[in-house]
Structures are given as structure tokens and as C-alpha cells.
Symmetry: C2
Amino acid sequence: MAKSKTNQEVDHTTEEKIKQAARTMFHKKGFSATRTRDIAEEAGINLALLNYYFRSKEKLFDIIMLETMQEFLRSILQTLNDENTSLEEKIEAIANNYIDLLTKEPDIPLFIMSELKANPNELLGKMGIKDVLMGSHFIRQYHQGIQEGKIAPVHPLHFMMNLMGLLVFPFIASPMLKGLGNLSDTDFNDLIQQRKTLIPTWMGAIMKGK
Amino acid sequence: MAKSKTNQEVDHTTEEKIKQAARTMFHKKGFSATRTRDIAEEAGINLALLNYYFRSKEKLFDIIMLETMQEFLRSILQTLNDENTSLEEKIEAIANNYIDLLTKEPDIPLFIMSELKANPNELLGKMGIKDVLMGSHFIRQYHQGIQEGKIAPVHPLHFMMNLMGLLVFPFIASPMLKGLGNLSDTDFNDLIQQRKTLIPTWMGAIMKGK
DNA sequence: ATAAAATTTAATCATTTGATTAAAAAAATG
DNA sequence: CATTTTTTTAATCAAATGATTAAATTTTAT
């Protein structure tokens, strides 16, 4: 089956080439609209090879989906669990990391949301992130902030919706926003970069409530 | 071809039944994952009928897509162009209308974003909404607010991203949010309803800057 | 009522698409 | 170097899927 490789050498194996091609195509067009032949061509290999290595389109997709989800959630959940940062510092870190990540990989959010909806499966459970958020250091800080009267008493999920909405939505809606605002790609990217500093400010204003 | 009907009678024509079925299926699974046979079954008619009435899957889809886009953008653009309301009133109206609309039709946002990305076509142009936003009454109010020092001087597109992000993102990300927060459907809907009043408050806080 | 038009259906076609097979080529092993 | 194992390919299969056809049925018009 797959060639076993030690960790330090860069993976240029055929298996890895196929995975990269699958990642690109799945992210760009989703599961249903991606043809296994597209992936094979993008990887520069024959179609049969794909099934030889990964057995089926579904199996290959599951691997890509899992890795993408982890990439998408890891940094945010990690930051929220940092015991050594304030709430404000957490927001700043997440805004910076996320805008950098999504500028490099703008297809990820729509990909994840679409496929998660198409398959409301046990993927989230399988990833072991149950309770990771609701039991995080961030949640404790948040509740403490409420008790001290520094934060308006609303469900922390609102906070997550707001932070993710402000960060992620522009990438999901970029075709529409560019259309509505007559924006070039550069214009759009400039606005996005501004949000690195704007979003922490706005989140501060939101939390204080009125 | 299609039966001509006067406006006052409710459309129970076969053509309308097919359109409704197509709407449901396309919204739920998107263009690629929807089979014409799914639509036919949902409509309770034979497959050939679909092609008889609409000629092809693409043609049928284009109709649904256009109508859905109009439904999605009409109310917001209309509200933003109301000459007789303040900025705050506009935000309140949009929040209420949108949350009601999306509670009834939660599939619309992800559908539109996905298909708009899959086909970065001239649809937005074809809808005649070019300059509708950037030339709206809202934009004038917004710039005036900046001049008067009541609004922080950031591009009005940020305002749109923020308002739409806060309103729409929860619906796009609902599977993930329910998973991360251990929320039932009712829990989720309760949070969403709270946002009718929360979002106007937050948008006010955001606009004032820091 | 009869003819014409519109509507509906079963059967079938052609293409796309995920997957398999058998054999060739290359690499690893002894 | 021989042979065993791994990798790669061309050819093909079977099922799914969008679309068409020709005939039957129903509705509308005269």
C-alpha cells in the first residue's frame, strides 16, 4: 500500500500528491461537484491510482474533511484555552491568526459549512472537541467578566457567533460583497486586513453591551 | 407550454409544483448534489415532465437561483433605500425582517453563497443591483454620520459585512455551532430570536468605534 | 360531440462517473 | 542477477443521471 516515510523528509509521494490535489478540488467545488477524474488530473496521475491508494472517493474525502476541520478549529480552540492570556488578548490573537489563515485558504469556511450541513454526522464528535469550547478557559473568563459587571450578560455562544461571524462571513460572502461594493480583489483584501485591528475593537464594544 | 393563469388564483399548476420542489431540493443540497429525479419525486410527477416544462436542469436552476437572490436581497436593499428612516431604524428593521426570513428559510444563505461562488457569473449584474447599495440613502446617512463625528470613519462595506455577518453567519454555521455548544434546535432558535434586539445594540456600539 | 391542443407517462438513449481488472513497468530484496 | 513486491497504466464495467421520444390521456375550443 502506501510507502512509509520518516517524518523529516518532505512528502512527495504519490499518495501525498493525490491528497493535495483532492484538497484543492474538494475545497474549491465541494464533494458532489468534484470528479475523481478532476483530482487525478490535478495530481498528474491515472484515475485508477486514486482508488488504489484511497479505495474510494468517500474515503479520500473523509481524510481531507477531517484534516481541514482540525486546521480550522485547532488554532481557535487552542487560543481559547490559553490560561495565560486575557480575554482581549485572546480576541486579538484569534483575529490575527484567522485572517492570515483565511487569506491563504479562503475556500475553507464555505467548504466546511457546506459539507457539515450535507452530512450532519458524528464528525464533530469524532474529533473530540465536544466540551472543548464550553469547558475552556475562555468560558470561565467570560462568566467572571459578567459577574464583575464588565461584560453584558448574554450567552457565550453569542460571543462565538459574533467573533466568527465578523471574521469568517466576509470570506464566505466575498463574491456577493465584491459585487455589491464594486470591489477588486485588492480592494477586498485591503478591507480584510483592516479587520485585524477593527474586529478586536468592535468585539470590545459589543461585550460591554450598552 | 405553460398554462397562463390570472394573478389572483393560487398557483397549483404542475409548473409551479415543479418549481416549488426544485426550490426545496436546490436549497437543501445545492445544484450538483440535486438529481432531477429527486425534484420529480418531490413534486410527485414524472421525470420527463420536468424537462418538458423547463427544458433542462440548468434552466430550472437559473430560475430558482434568480428568485432566491431577489428574495434574499430585496428586503435589505429596500430598507437601506428608505428615505424616511434613521440609520438606527434601518438596522432594527433589517434585523427583524432577516431573522424572521431566515428562521423560515434557513437554507437560503448557504445556498446563495455556495452557488454564487461556483458560478461567479453576471447574475449580480443581471439583477440590476449594481450601485443600488453604494448609491443608497443609507450610504449618504453613513457618510454624514462620519462627518458629524457620530460614526467611526471606516468603509461602509465594513458595516455591511458586520451587519450581515452578525445576522447571517449563525444560520450558515448552525451545524457547527450546535455541535460546539451542545445546543438543541430549540436552544438554537431561542438564541437566534434574542439577536433581534441584541444585534441593533451591538451595531450601535460598533459604529461608535472605540 | 369532434377536432385540436395541452398535459402526462413509460420506455429508452447517451453520457458521465466511480470503480475494477489484468497486465506492464519499476523498485526493492536476497 | 533473479524474483518478489510495489507502483503505474490502459481498458473496461456497471450504475447513475440528464435528456428525449412516441404514444396515451386529458383538457380546451368550436
